[in-house]
Symmetry: C2
Subunit: 507 residues, 2 copies
């Protein structure tokens, strides 16, 4: 009997976050939910990450309502979310009672599996949320952010796994956000976790596809004992996204492993999202192939384009190579944090500053915080010289405690702030929304009554509009003296089968 490998489908969260800037509307997901629910997935990742922000910022959609809808439409399948530990889904640390309340509310609204991670792999930033998940009776998945550096070792990752298990983790996720996880390390890490933590420990692999090697890594991880993998249905897979679900299923044929996913359901899901994908053309990632330069720089693709645009603003695009070489030095100075939101942006921006203005001549507030321990403890010690500069810049001392220990209870204040926003509905969910995204919520609450916006567009209409725009731009403006026009005249113009009225007036 082949061993069953479980699969988490990413189509409803990370697939569209990675490939179409998190813009997919709930409306475009609903028709696929029945098939997803019946395909035999271990879980459907469908919430958290950037989806919460995107819902209220771009889609005028209440993310809590989205969650409840998923719960209703997918009763058989565990719903899964990505939670940034003490940051929740926001960009700062929250005080413990806020974290607890968020987890409780997410569980109440239907969440089953909480994948909890921290950008610098500091387990203290996961403690409270992990405990809250356990308390709510849901599945607490402890996460190891995978990265590569001179100080990251297989044993180091295993030690982190041990800490997460001690915290009560129901499973361990090895999260490879930059597609750096090669087959041999995948094998070695999973093997070592299983050997040292017990074969019964569930190991779940999340790997992006960007470098082109990670489907092989999934195979090797499975050979080492991995239990669950993340994939995305093929019509919204690859590039900076994930390995295709159907390819994963087929890959295992004849091996000692199998998925038991329903091929006919997968086929329907695939065909459905193949019709949705072109509607989001304007948001689609330009990357469709693979990018192996990431192995050299260890810099995720999104971070490079960020740095490029920062340099462009300063007319210094020629400095990109220098900046790319500076990144590993900055990373070393900061104690080798993994490069993932928000550490990737913090390190990248500092590398740009260093190249443009000299090493640490200027420092971002966030970088100073990272140096001073306000994001948590990094794996290696900080550079003492840079640390001194950070103290001077931030005018505050380095800390070694858990960063959230410095926070005072804030629920009441958050509630008061939320209640002052027009359109606040009085729920704890709304307080949490406003707490995580204050300025966005201030616009969203009053606009919520207008209902969700679907940013998808009929590709045929997009094409016709572009043609019409080209025509409008080209409508002749004759020089007045040559013009035979005495007044405006309107023509019926057909472009690509679409009729337009074009009015030409004397220049």
């Amino acid at each position: 009997m082949p061993r069953k490998i479980e699969v988490t489908e990413l189509i409803l969260r990370d697939a569209h976050q990675s490939l179409m800037a998190t813009r997919m509307s709930l409306e475009d997901m609903v028709p696929a939910c029945e098939d997803i629910d019946n395909a035999g997935y271990w879980s459907a990742e469908c919430w958290g990450g950037a989806t919460f922000d995107s819902c209220i910022r771009f889609l005028n959609e209440d993310p809590w309502e989205r969650l409840r809808t998923f719960k209703k439409l997918m009763p058989k399948t565990k719903l899964q979310m990505l939670l940034r530990g003490q940051n929740l889904l926001g960009y700062r640390h929250y005080e413990d009672s806020v974290v607890e309340r968020f987890v409780m509310k997410a569980a109440e609204n239907g969440m089953d599996v909480f994948r909890v991670f921290d950008a610098v792999n500091d387990p203290r930033n996961l403690e409270v949320s992990m405990r809250a998940v356990k308390k709510s009776g849901k599945h607490a998945q402890g996460t190891i952010c995978y990265t590569v550096s001179p100080v990251h070792t297989v044993q180091g990752f295993v030690n982190l796994a041990k800490q997460l298990i001690a915290m009560g983790a129901d499973s361990i996720c090895l999260k490879d956000m930059a597609a750096l996880l090669k087959p041999q390390p995948a094998y070695d890490i999973v093997k070592a976790i299983k050997e040292q933590c017990g074969q019964q420990v569930l190991v779940h692999i999340h790997a992006h596809a960007t470098t082109g090697v990670t489907l092989v890594s999934l195979m090797k991880a499975i050979e080492a004992g991995a239990d669950i993998v993340d994939t995305a249905i093929s019509s919204l897979s690859l590039g900076p996204g994930h390995n295709p679900t159907e390819s994963f299923v087929e890959m295992l044929e004849g091996t000692g492993y199998t998925t038991e996913l329903d091929g006919a359901r997968l086929s329907k899901i695939k065909n459905y999202f193949a019709t949705i994908r072109p509607r989001y053309q304007e948001f689609l990632s330009n990357i469709t192939g693979v990018e192996t330069d990431i192995f050299k720089s260890q810099i995720p693709g999104g971070m490079i384009s960020n740095m490029e645009s920062q340099l462009k603003q300063q007319d210094a695009e020629d400095k990109l190579v220098e900046v790319l070489e500076e990144v590993p030095r900055v990373r070393k100075a900061a104690g080798y944090p993994p490069l993932v939101t928000p550490s990737s942006q913090i390190v990248g921006t500092q590398a740009v500053f260093n190249v443009m203005m000299g090493p640490y001549a200027t420092m971002s507030g966030e970088f100073a915080d990272l140096m001073l321990g306000y994001y948590g403890e990094t794996i290696a010690p900080k550079d003492p010289e840079v640390l001194k500069k950070a103290e001077a810049h931030a005018k505050k001392p380095a800390i070694t405690c858990r960063p959230a220990d410095l926070l005072k209870p804030e629920w009441d204040a958050l509630k008061k702030t939320a209640a002052a926003i027009e359109g606040f509905n009085g729920s704890d969910e709304d307080v949490l929304t406003a707490a995580m995204f204050p300025p966005v919520a201030a616009k969203f609450f009053p606009a919520r009554k207008n209902g969700p916006k679907n940013l998808g567009k009929d590709p045929a209409k997009v094409k016709a509009d572009a043609a019409a725009a080209a025509v409008a731009a080209a409508t002749p403006t004759p020089a007045a003296q040559d013009s035979p026009l005495k007044g405006p005249v309107t023509y019926g113009v057909t472009v690509n089968g679409r009729k337009h009225k074009v009015t030409v007036a004397p220049g």
Copy 2:
């Protein structure tokens, strides 16, 4: 010490054949040759397949001159070609002396490695060309076309390998043209060849990437002992093409295998072809992701689009599913040929006929020939009923001999035909060109003096031209009675920064 895995780079042949309809001009390859020659490849595939046809049909380029140029620019690296056995590069069987002469001339002009295959895996169709390669002192690679069917077994492929080795093959290629080769069969076949034929037998894996699983298959083939793999530089990889060279290199890091390819050279090759690819936008394959339906139908992607267009011509697009279901039945009737040029087209067309007009009510001449053994012997016996119909249709008997045994010496006649074409240069190479592509050569020889055409286009110019065309299509044609124009008037119209003169005349 890790075991060294050799790599054949496909960028100069199969990569652009698969992804840009074989349209890349020699001019666009030349700048990369020095880097390819110094990167450490086992060989550079650069000739044969559809490139010969494309050179003379579309590019006004002499393929023999292309070969000599490669030899000059890549003196360190073995040049490799794909040769369709007794078909050479054409679409019929040639008499033995023509086959011998072609191989001799290819070797003289610089070819080092001849990958020889036959669409129905009949070794008798490879004998003469393999012997000719050996005689010329070059590398004769015997090929197994991989396919999946109820009668294809690991042992069957191994038996074919044994026959190829007995013929003097210097290496064995397992050729997976439709990306059907899954990891476990890849492992099993390579393992069995090595065990039964000897560990010293060089095994070379050629797999397309279309289904998304074959990089894993390369890994498993290597674990089973494979020696050489085919890859394409990442900027022209994936989709219906091949696995990316750089991903392959990175994948092996830390394993017991390594490539020793020069990363800096690969990077230069990649960046160079990233600038060339967009120039061929109009020829680029639409498929950028993966397609796993191929596993169900075992029908290569190109064949499906062929059948779709045949059905469309008959207003019967709704019959596609029926046709896809008919293909395996036709294949069974024909003795389970692999589906590769030309068998894929022959089987696909017959499936369309059967659905539209009833089973074998009509039969193509080519399908009758396939049934009657004129393409060689297939692995399984033919359906006797269909065989009878084929005999009736073709008014000739089934044969069991080697098809080319029926051919009479034809070199003198071919030479005479070639000599009659304007622009014939008197060489044996020209005779061979004319022999393989008679009507195309008849146009190419007289036009050759005009020099090569490069079909690549500056993407910025393509965009500007498209905008100009939209404007031209939209130039108002006012109804005569409303028109204020008494005669033509010309406007200066600027679209996307490009100036156009647009003349408007009364309708």
